[in-house]
Symmetry: C2
Subunit: 389 residues, 2 copies
């Protein structure tokens, strides 16, 4: 086990009707003027935004609003948010939405208190030293941004999609009400499930040995997702299944499932190229790419793949780790498909002509490679794209 630090200071307020506590929580954290940041019309149509505003008004907290965050959030709106916060004297940012909204809020929070261009931090993945305090009301379990210190933003001119973060942008509180996810369309629900699973898999495949407790925690989240995801696809208003997924989504990314070892994150990097170029839904891209990456990685460490297959899918290992591991990878692909996710890049509208560009555009090391568990050249990345085209 490697030396590590772990801290999860966000206060999670979980359950029915918890959005009514937003105003009180902001007050407890010293907020006196709030930016409410959100995405499209669903939070308006559902009445959620009105309920949140009412909660602030009840506490006598004034606010301004900035909607319009898109999936794969863009730098343009971040700049707008920074200007608005400065003009209005905002001292607390409340993100109402999914990971894109929260990531955008984190970027605004970092930018408001920084003299230069907020993108400076994202450009070189520098740790963000300070930021306005943030709270969240989560509507999509997927990105895990509600409990993480990370934020992924796409720069509008260069289409570079980059992540950075720091304890300064961790939400002070996050409100998680599973009922708010009842109305998510199946595509978004399933994409979120795949994103959550991918957050675990990026932490599961490691060359660091002997971290049994972290392995077991990872498997606990995966077993939960395999049980609960089909139940919400069948009945979107199943509160218990929605609740399990929502909480698992946080646990998959606050790093409790990742400590003590090297983490991978290569499939995320390979997928970010798709999302940036085609605006592919992140979780759907991962559903296609993760089995492809796993097949490439299988020969490197068949024992680990066999362990995952056995412990999570109950696949019997008849003494052949390669075969067992491969059966596990196929089980993942089948599981993603069963949720309505695509199996090929073609279904996502990705074009073969862009493979070489995307592989070279990846954030590669000076020696032109990427990856830790296995090291990939651009040719390897093209091969992975092709294998699931």
């Amino acid at each position: 086990m490697l030396n590590f630090e772990f801290c999860s200071p966000t206060r999670f307020v979980f359950g029915k009707n918890t959005e009514s506590q937003a105003g009180e929580l902001i007050k407890n954290h010293g907020g006196t003027k709030v930016l409410i940041h959100y995405g499209g019309g669903s939070v308006v149509r559902s009445g959620l935004l009105d309920r949140v505003k009412a909660s602030l008004t009840e506490q006598g907290i004034p606010y301004v609003e900035l909607g319009g965050v898109q999936p794969n959030p863009r730098s343009g709106l971040v700049y707008q948010g920074i200007d608005l916060c400065r003009k209005e004297g905002v001292d607390f940012i409340l993100a109402v939405g999914g990971g894109s909204v929260i990531d955008s809020a984190k970027a605004i929070a970092a930018g408001v208190v920084y003299d230069g261009d907020f993108w400076d931090y994202w450009a070189v993945k520098a740790v963000i030293p300070k930021a306005l305090p943030i709270g969240t009301v989560l509507t999509i379990p997927a990105a895990g941004s509600e409990g993480s210190s990370n934020s992924v933003i796409t720069h509008e001119e260069t289409l570079i999609k980059r992540g950075t973060g720091g304890d300064a942008v961790r939400p002070k509180f996050s409100i998680l009400n599973p009922e708010l996810t009842f109305t998510l369309p199946q595509w978004q629900t399933a994409s979120g499930v795949c994103d959550i699973i991918a957050h675990i898999l990026e932490r599961y495949f490691t060359n660091t040995t002997e971290v049994e407790v972290t392995d077991r925690l990872c498997e606990a989240i995966l077993l939960t997702m395999i049980k609960e995801a089909p139940r919400v696809i069948e009945n979107p208003e199943n509160y218990e299944a929605r609740a399990n997924i929502m909480w698992a989504g946080m646990l998959a990314h606050n790093n409790v499932c990742g400590v003590g070892r090297e983490q991978e994150w290569t499939t995320h990097a390979i997928e970010h190229e798709l999302s940036a170029l085609y605006d592919v839904t992140h979780g759907a891209g991962l559903a296609v790419l993760f089995p492809a990456w796993m097949k490439k990685a299988l020969p490197h460490d068949p024992k680990r793949f066999a362990q995952l297959a056995t412990r999570v899918f109950g696949i019997e290992n008849k003494g052949d780790d390669m075969a067992t591991g491969l059966a596990g990878i196929e089980a993942w692909a089948d599981f993603f498909t069963s949720l309505g996710m695509p199996r090929t890049l073609r279904e996502l509208g990705v074009q073969e002509k862009d493979f070489v560009y995307m592989a070279n555009h990846l954030m590669l090391r000076p020696d032109g490679t990427c990856g830790k568990y296995i090291v990939l050249t651009p040719d390897d990345v093209v091969e992975i794209y092709k294998s699931c085209y």
Copy 2:
């Protein structure tokens, strides 16, 4: 799943040589005059106390010392600590030791800033509103106090053993170096393992249904303990096994494995009576009592016991939940015995003549019962004591 709040703000600094960071961490948290609180001679003999002091001196932080914390920590030393802190102007408490030392430090921290008797909070289990900041250097994985908001103290005159807590007494940081546990005698190692397992079992047996993610996290910790504990018994200097146990011990009690449902804690209450009257090692008392309580609870919910037996011990369920559940309980008793733990109260020196006194002395409800998963009368508690005598 029930509504809940979760927050784990302690910064855990885990790994080799991390005790050398104590001074820097205290400085980061604003400490300018420190009470170093510890137990017996082992932290002195091992040189740990000297290394910690050197780390404080390096940062120019003055300190005073108070050793002598006993297992099942007593109120007398807490009063001494409070007086010393006030006299010396201490503004940060560093606990160097196991759960008893940390619990004692929490009580001192609460008492220093309170005008009345610190026991007021413990007497009525009131939430502690404020306290001096605390840091810990953990030497025994067991109580989980390094990441929890709880503290259990025995009142010296009445021999009442009570727990209370609050976010105010959560450690600001906890240093966990598995190497510091190499020299623990087998008895203490095994008792700690049983305590950790009991912290999970108290959270596992619940009447709240449909909290799969928490079930799976609980099982993850239990599976880890079952794998790693025999390895440290065999080789006390197995770093990896020690590391897995140390981290699992924190996770078993910062409540990540308990959210969203009613928790039990009856076996702890039944055991506290033994510890208070006989100074029994807490984990050893739990090793004897938990299988006895489980046998009493089995008929209430055979399905849940069968689930635990199957998922954790891999016991095949041939369609008989009662038989499967019972086999699981026997497997726990055998596991505890395999670590060198006793199987009977007699081995712990407990006398049958005290059963009725202890059962009545339990913190019972006005109607003379205790327990949630199953409700116990004093007669039931006596029956449990007798069943493992």
